[in-house]
Amino acid sequence: MIAVESVSKSFDGGASFAVRAVSLRVPARAFVAIVGDSGSGKTTLLKTINRLIEPQQGEVIIDEEPVRTVAPHALRRRIGYVFQGIGLFPHMSIAENIGITPRLIGWPEPKIRARVEELIDLVALPRSYLARLPAELSGGQRQRVGIARALAARPHIMLMDEPFGALDPVTRDALGAEYRRLHESMRLTTLMVTHDILEAVLLADRIVVMRAGAIVADGEPRALLSGHPDPQVRTLMDMPRRQAERVRALLEERARE
């Protein structure tokens, strides 16, 4: 379980807060989506969990253990992180990129090689790509590698920051569904930042809405879809529903013709 306890982070010495007194509990094996406008503090919140950002106040506890008591590199080797900008190492081959965390931990080479091949299959890329450099892949293919890299050392927790952002809608949908299956089969706990509310509704068990550094809504997709006291959250949740209704209307029209 991940427990975020009234965490605050300011980048300007307290004049404004990227994240302000946020508390969040994510039970093991949950799939939580974090949505919100850009600049609302989603990335900052995610990074306080694996200590890429240290909060000024509050603390993060994973399985009873405050993360500040764990060495950052050790903590991060246990948590998969998919970066918003992917962040593949340009001078390393795809195989080296995927195998980096196991190598840092000190897995034996044959085991790393086997794991890398398993993962490239898992994210549905041809094995021949393993020898390539990131620059030789398309944006979507790189995003798959980013996910494979995060999964490599068999973490129990996955933090994903807009992991499907650079994909075309079809691939995006397919990869999202594939990941959801991985989440189940690997018994992962997933926190996924997305700006696509429809994606959140379709993939997550629970949606957290952020605004100006605070959580303004937190609930199951179905509950949020059926109404919320905050008018802005309502507008936000209305969007997928309205879209779905229009699609249905269109389909019915065609059926009548």
Partner: protein, 517 residues
């Protein structure tokens, strides 16, 4: 083959290997210094700024001055070290050159490295932390590899600079390809000058290309290419390392020479006489005027020829002017007492500062002595060598005769004579043994007030060779055996515009003419 070219080729292994070793050591040390600085500077602007500022400042110091400045510094350190631990180290030659060139090599490596590291994509750096790298792992696995191409480019710039600047190590007593250039310039042997430049350029280009190969190998992830480049570089350095080892085993005696023709000729004469005793000899030429004596006192060279007036003012720092005989006697005692250096005796000629004019001009103005000159001086321009106007002799001339010229100009000696002949100047500070005095039909002005001290050429022996029987057997016959006329002619053979001879040829002629064998 042309005698000058073949003589240039004969010393090539020595000059080239020393040049390569000096440059390689400087670059290696430069890398060793700049990489940790780079690592310290990569996070903190507080370190970055002063480090870059100092490195840039060093770069603006003229290279020759930087080389020269290390000498007094090392001399001080050496004597301190001697007092504390009982052992000193040579303040001349390799060490000051190495330190100066190392300082020069730092800036390009540092500047490129810092630029490279500052320009690394922050997202990549955060990803490195995010996948669980420690600070050190991030440095070694991500930052340095990504900065490597820029770093290599910096190293290449450094290498080219260092190899070029290493030619300036010659005057502080470090043999390099610069010996060709300095010697060639002195004796107006343009073949040697060009040979030296060509060799330095070729070496710089070759090194640059090998480094480029490494860079390419790193950039394209083709380790074999990088290893090939590195291997060839190391092979070159190793080969250069073998040459002095082989020479060192046989080199019995080291004969020094300052940086002008007469010194080359006398060094050659002395060398051949030692060789005739069955011992091997190495020459270290182009030593700066002060450096030569220091090198002798430090036993780095075994013998060379210096001049009484120079020793009197520059080494003993005396300003009084006793007669020729007293000066010689005092020098003999004082040099022995203070430095352990033996003054074997005078060669028989003087190479003094004299004032010289074109014969026609002197006759027209009715000038025969410096007293005559003083009257005409306000309308005349004087040309001196690079140090003359800063020397006590000049002050004494000014005082005794009340000399005031319209203008004073300093020249490198070769160009000083040309300036006189082309009437850019009217009077020059010639050397009395210079062959050009006779050849250019110059008149030497008399010094009735004895303002200029005597400059008798004397043979000096290093402390450790004070009673060396071989040197004494070889050199004692030279004492009093070389009259001014012969020395002048030998100098002229080397410097004349046509039918030029090498110093070695002139030395052979001089030995025959002076009935030495």
């Amino acid at each position: 083959m042309n005698e000058r070219l073949s003589s240039a080729l004969r010393v090539l292994p020595d000059y080239l290997s020393q040049h390569v070793l000096l440059s390689a050591a400087s670059l290696a040390l430069g890398l060793l210094v700049s990489v940790p600085l780079l690592i310290a500077a990569r996070r903190s602007a507080r370190v970055r700024w002063p480090v870059l500022a100092v490195a840039s400042l060093i770069q603006t110091v003229p290279s020759i001055a930087l080389l020269a400045l290390f000498y007094p510094l090392l001399l001080g350190l050496s004597s301190l070290c001697k007092r504390l631990f009982g052992v000193g180290f040579p303040a001349l030659g390799f060490l000051p050159s190495l330190l100066a060139l190392t300082l020069y090599s730092i800036l390009p490596i540092l500047r490129n490295g810092i630029t490279a590291i500052l320009n690394l994509d922050p997202a990549i750096l955060q990803a490195a932390s995010g996948v669980g790298m420690t600070d050190r792992q991030r440095l070694l696995r991500v930052e340095l590899p990504l900065a490597a191409p820029m770093l290599m480019a910096g190293l290449r710039t450094s290498a080219v600079w260092v190899i070029g600047t290493a030619t300036l190590a010659t005057p502080v007593g470090q043999t390099s390809l610069g010996n060709y250039i300095f010697t060639g310039l002195q004796v107006e042997d343009w073949v040697w000058v060009l040979f030296g430049c060509g060799a330095a350029v070729a070496l710089a280009l070759l090194t640059d290309q090998l480094l480029a190969l490494i860079e390419l190998g790193l950039g394209r992830r083709r380790p074999r290419l990088a290893w090939t480049g590195l291997g060839l570089l190391l092979l070159g350095v190793a080969a250069a390392g073998v040459v002095p080892l082989r020479a060192g085993r046989h080199a019995g005696y080291v004969v020094g020479a300052k940086d002008f023709s007469e010194q080359y000729i006398l060094a050659s004469l002395i060398s051949s006489r030692i060789r005739a005793q069955g011992y091997s000899v190495r020459e270290r030429t182009d030593l700066g005027s002060v450096f030569a004596f220091r090198a002798l006192a430090a036993n780095e060279i075994d013998t060379y020829v210096d001049y009484t007036g120079t020793l009197w003012t520059n080494i003993l720092h005396r300003t009084d002017m006793p007669g020729r005989r007293r000066m010689l006697q005092d020098l003999r005692v004082q040099l022995r007492r203070r430095y352990g250096v033996v003054l074997l005796g005078p060669l028989g000629f003087e190479n003094a500062y004299v004032l010289a004019m074109r014969r026609g001009e002197a006759a027209r103005l009715g000038i025969r002595t410096i007293e005559d000159l003083a009257r005409a001086a306000p309308r005349l321009t004087i040309g001196g060598d690079l140090e003359f106007f800063a020397r006590p002799e000049w002050r004494m001339l000014e005082e005794r005769y009340g000399l005031h010229f319209r203008a004073e100009r300093a020249y490198e000696p070769t160009f000083m004579y040309k300036a006189l002949m082309s009437r850019e100047v009217d009077v020059i500070t010639a050397f009395s043994s210079d062959g050009r005095i006779a050849a250019d039909h110059l008149v030497v002005l008399k010094d009735p007030l004895h303002a200029i001290p005597p400059y008798d050429a004397v043979v000096l022996l290093a402390p450790k060779r004070a009673s060396d029987p071989v040197l004494r057997r070889a050199l004692e016959p030279l004492i009093g055996a070389i009259p001014l006329k012969l020395m002048r002619h030998a100098n002229y053979m080397v410097e004349r515009p046509a039918d030029q001879r090498t110093p070695a040829q002139a030395a052979r002629w001089l030995a025959r003419a002076a009935h030495l064998h």
